[in-house]
């Protein structure tokens, strides 16, 4: 069935079957992806996906269901399944739907040129990335990945309170990971480009950058265990922000899983820390005029000059705290309920360059990569202990590469002991961003 017709019939049936209000969230994604290996296309993907997630209030509780098949018979399944789920919940588990002041809105951030690109043009761009990576450095022997993808995404939400919003956007994502080898030593380096303006995309430069990063880590050794002053590169700090973002969510605080409970208005970080969430940031990778509940999104400081200004809310957690939703109620997909998520979530850059930060550091470590965040970071306590790579810093200069170390610390402490934030703001593809930061001291395990 066509999406509007499906949404309309679904809402009509739900209201007829005893739901007091309801919402039909539609999402469609057309995706194309090509992977190149050794100058040939090794994988190729073409897809069209759509589906509807339903939520509504039944006997005072919110029930959810979803379907990826949009036949008329699936409407009855959605309503029945949502009703079964609703009655399991305690009475207070009700998610209010958004009653909009301005109910209708349609946004488009589409570059029509992307829709006209042929498969062959995309394949050629991916091949140029690989060729440039192989050519740039002798030690680069192959690619771990060399992928080019395009997406066309539509989100459209209607509810029984009059909401009718939709957004369409498209984008290109290129990702390359080069493998460098010297003797028995193997290192990888990854780089990506994401955007809408095809003419700004330089495949060769993207490939070269990955190659340089892989090679720069060759010849790495360990360091003695101990406490070191460190500079974390922007991509590392951005990873920390991604993993620990939930400590700033109203719902995490309300459930007792964040140590920031009751600290709004207090200083929780060094004065150099200003943390923003900006869903419409021009230079960001995320574009969200409204969240998954249809609430308009806006730019806000979460931490301003070290002071905790606000938590991030969806409608339900906002109601609990007696505030307005910050427009951060997002679904991870059709199958998930509305939770909280960040958009372009970034640490505001400072004035000085990474080189100046390193000069101030004097002796210590530059950390360029961390792995194991999903296992080695505890979002409840803030503790982390992560495998890391980087470089030794001596007299403010970058020295030999370092590997097989772990850095350990605590996220809350990291915020407090940040000495300076650099001016080299980096955004990860998921929207999280940070410049290089200098941290007083971290515990490092090595030899």
């Amino acid at each position: 069935m066509e999406r509007r017709e499906f949404q309309k019939e679904l809402m009509a049936l739900a209201l007829a079957e005893g739901f007091s209000d309801c919402e039909a969230y539609y999402r469609e994604n057309r995706h194309f992806e090509v992977m190149v290996l050794e100058g040939e296309v090794s994988d190729y993907e073409n897809s069209g996906l759509r589906g509807v997630a339903f939520r509504g209030t039944y006997e005072g509780r919110t029930g959810y269901s979803y379907t990826e098949r949009m036949e008329r018979e699936d409407i009855a399944y959605l309503v029945k399944s949502a009703r079964e789920n609703a009655v399991l919940l305690p009475k207070e588990e009700r998610e209010k739907l958004y009653a909009p002041a301005k109910p209708v809105g349609h946004w488009e951030k589409l570059n029509p040129h992307l829709e006209q690109l042929t498969a062959e043009e995309k394949v050629q761009a991916a091949k140029r990335m690989e060729a440039a990576a192989l050519q740039e450095e002798d030690a680069v022997v192959s690619m771990d990945y060399c992928v080019l993808g395009t997406d066309w995404i539509e989100t459209a939400i209607c509810n029984s309170l009059g909401l009718d919003v939709s957004c369409r956007r498209n984008m290109v994502t290129a990702y390359v990971c080069a493998i460098a080898k010297e003797g028995d030593e193997v290192k990888t380096g990854a780089y990506f480009w994401k955007g809408q303006n095809w003419h700004e995309f330089d495949p060769a430069a993207t490939g070269k950058k990955a190659a340089e990063m892989a090679v720069s880590h060759l010849g790495a050794g360990g360091v003695a265990s101990g406490r070191y002053g460190v500079v974390l590169e922007g991509r590392v700090m951005a990873s920390f922000l991604r993993v620990f973002a939930p400590v700033f969510f109203g719902e995490t605080v309300q459930k007792g899983f964040s140590l920031l409970a009751g600290k709004r208005g207090e200083t929780i970080a060094a004065a150099c820390v200003t943390l923003r969430d900006d869903p419409l940031l021009e230079t960001g990778y995320v574009y969200a005029p409204f969240d998954s509940e249809g609430v308009p999104c806006r730019n806000k400081a979460v931490i301003e000059k070290g002071v905790l200004k606000t938590f991030l809310y969806n409608l339900k957690s906002a109601e609990k705290d007696g505030v307005a939703s910050t427009g951060n109620g997002f679904k991870a997909g059709l199958t998930s309920p509305v939770k909280t998520a960040v958009t372009n979530f970034y640490l505001e850059p400072g004035k000085r360059s990474r080189e100046e930060l390193l000069a101030d550091l004097g002796d210590g470590l530059l950390i360029t990569d961390i792995t194991g965040l999903h296992a080695g970071a505890n979002t409840v306590s803030g503790d982390f202990s992560l495998s890391a790579e980087g470089f030794l810093v001596e007299n403010g200069n970058i020295g030999r590469p370092v590997e097989q170390i772990t850095v350990a610390g605590n996220f809350y402490e990291l915020l407090r002991t940040m000495e300076e934030v650099g001016n080299d703001l980096y955004f990860a593809g998921n929207g999280t961003g940070a410049p290089s930061v200098r941290v007083r001291e971290m515990s490092v395990a090595g030899e």
């Binding site: 379907t67 079964e84 305690p90 459930k255 080695g376 306590s381 772990t406 395990a445 030899e447």
Partner: protein, 460 residues
């Protein structure tokens, strides 16, 4: 799920431009998930995943397309569009499809879709109560139950028509213990390719108390000292070390691209002679078990490493073609959105001769990792890292005080050589493994092992 004529017409259209292999995978999955916080239902979700994936081979080139509109005209159009992006040297005909029957590896006693959701919630509430009752310092619990009923059809141009229904269930519990300044958590997550009878096989309250015990123990733990030391890794989820450090490197998806340290080493000694490693997709009701893989081939037991010698890789059809080797029944995918590739099923280190007591007694100083958390690995370098959820220091052959925040890092190929004791207490544990064909249920497992030296990260 689809009429034979629809499948035939789709595959015929897919072969039009000279693909030498065409495969259609269709899936209809109903899933139900209940999550509780502190004994109260917080989430109750359910829905229908539905779609078809079409895979074409042109020599060593793979083209994958998927959609959730499976009307005949849409499937045929998608097949034509997809085929048009490549050209083969000659045309291949569609072979007559033979229906395969199921082997019944995973008998189901009680289908989860036939059980009232309220009944499922009762078990979760009981588990939560047991965790709270274990110790007054338990401040929060999260309990959950997930059941999945997945009907799968795989049909291909070489005459395969294979169908099966896969049912799996899993119970999860997290207990958080709090003191004035600290919070620590413990987890457990038993499951299998079983129905609701899972709750007859396990005692949810006992499982919840075990999670609570870890949380409370770690609350009083001091920071783990950092450095290189011997590490004893206990059985069960400890097998994640092998899964991450070696298992991924034995998947053809890494080997065929020469992106694994184990590439080109078949028949060679790659590990201590104490190491025998097995991947077995046929364990009855195993979490990673199925009658067939996602290419419609019967699953089987593959001995990967035998007494330190590399015996085989885990191989799917396309990588087998690239490597000149036969597939091993190891092709898996999360759902129709992913092309299948070689993945682990139930992977474990075989038991050895030492008792756990002997291993501890023989260790004068080191870390005892009783419970492991998750981890990750870079298959190109074999560098791995994973978290120790519950650890203790060993001194003079005795398990001493608990330590927290420990991380184990190393390189898989090196660690395999450093396994110097293997226990006799094999146990498997359930996990979700994420890789290029999505997130799939896999068992990890091992007896207690000792690694003579590892880098341990910690703050102490």
């Amino acid at each position: 799920m689809l009429k034979k004529s629809v499948v035939e017409n789709t595959l015929t259209a897919a072969l039009e431009t000279g693909a030498d292999f065409a495969e259609l995978y269709v899936e209809e999955t109903r899933r139900n998930q209940i999550g509780m916080v502190n004994g109260q239902v917080e989430t109750a979700l359910g829905g229908l995943d539905y779609g078809a994936g079409l895979r074409l081979f042109f020599g060593n080139r793979v083209i994958y397309a998927f959609t959730n509109d499976t009307a005949e005209e849409n499937l045929v159009r998608l097949a034509k569009e997809t085929a048009a992006t490549a050209k083969g040297a000659r045309l291949y005909a569609l072979a007559e499809m033979q229906k395969k029957y199921c082997r019944g590896i995973n008998p189901i006693a009680l289908y989860p879709n036939s059980v009232e959701k309220k009944k499922k919630a009762q078990y979760l509430a009981a588990a939560s109560a047991a965790a709270f009752a274990y110790d007054s310092r338990i401040s929060q619990t999260r309990t959950g139950f997930l059941d999945v009923t997945k009907d799968v059809l795989v049909a291909n141009s070489l005459g395969v028509w294979a169908e099966e229904q896969r049912v799996r269930s899993r119970f999860t519990v997290e207990a958080v213990a709090s003191s004035a300044s600290e919070k620590q958590s413990g987890h457990q997550g038993p499951g299998g390719s079983v129905g609701f009878e899972l709750f007859r096989r396990i005692d949810v309250e006992e499982v919840a108390r075990e999670a609570a015990r870890t949380a409370v123990t770690m609350l009083s733990a001091k920071a783990c000292p950092a450095g290189r030391m011997p590490v004893v890794i206990d059985n069960g989820f400890g097998g994640v070390i092998f899964h991450e450090a070696c298992g991924h490197g034995l998947e053809a998806t890494a080997v065929a691209r020469n992106a694994s340290v184990f590439a080109g080493k078949l028949g060679q000694e790659i590990a201590s002679p104490l190491v025998t490693a097995i991947d077995d997709g046929t364990i009855p009701n195993g979490w990673g078990s199925a009658n067939m893989d996602d290419e419609g081939m019967p699953t089987r037991k593959n001995v990967l490493i035998e007494k330190g010698i590399l015996k085989t890789y885990l191989i799917d059809k396309m990588n087998g073609r690239k490597m000149g080797m036969e597939p091993t029944g190891s092709a898996r995918r999360e759902n129709y959105r992913f092309a299948p590739t070689s993945r682990m099923t139930n992977t474990f280190l075989a038991p050895g001769a030492s008792t756990p007591e002997e291993i501890i007694r023989a260790t004068s100083w080191g870390l005892y990792a009783k419970q492991m958390g998750g981890g990750s690995v870079d298959p190109a370098t074999g560098s791995f890292n994973f978290a120790v959820l519950e650890g203790y220091l060993i001194r003079n052959g005795q398990i001493c005080e608990p330590v927290r925040g420990a991380t184990l890092i190393g390189k898989g190929a090196e660690t395999l050589w450093k396994i110097d004791m293997v226990g006799n207490n094999l146990k498997r544990a359930q996990g979700m493994c994420g890789s290029i064909s999505g997130s799939i249920p896999t068992d990890v497992g091992q007896p207690m092992i000792r690694v003579s030296e590892m880098t341990v990260g910690g703050r102490g």
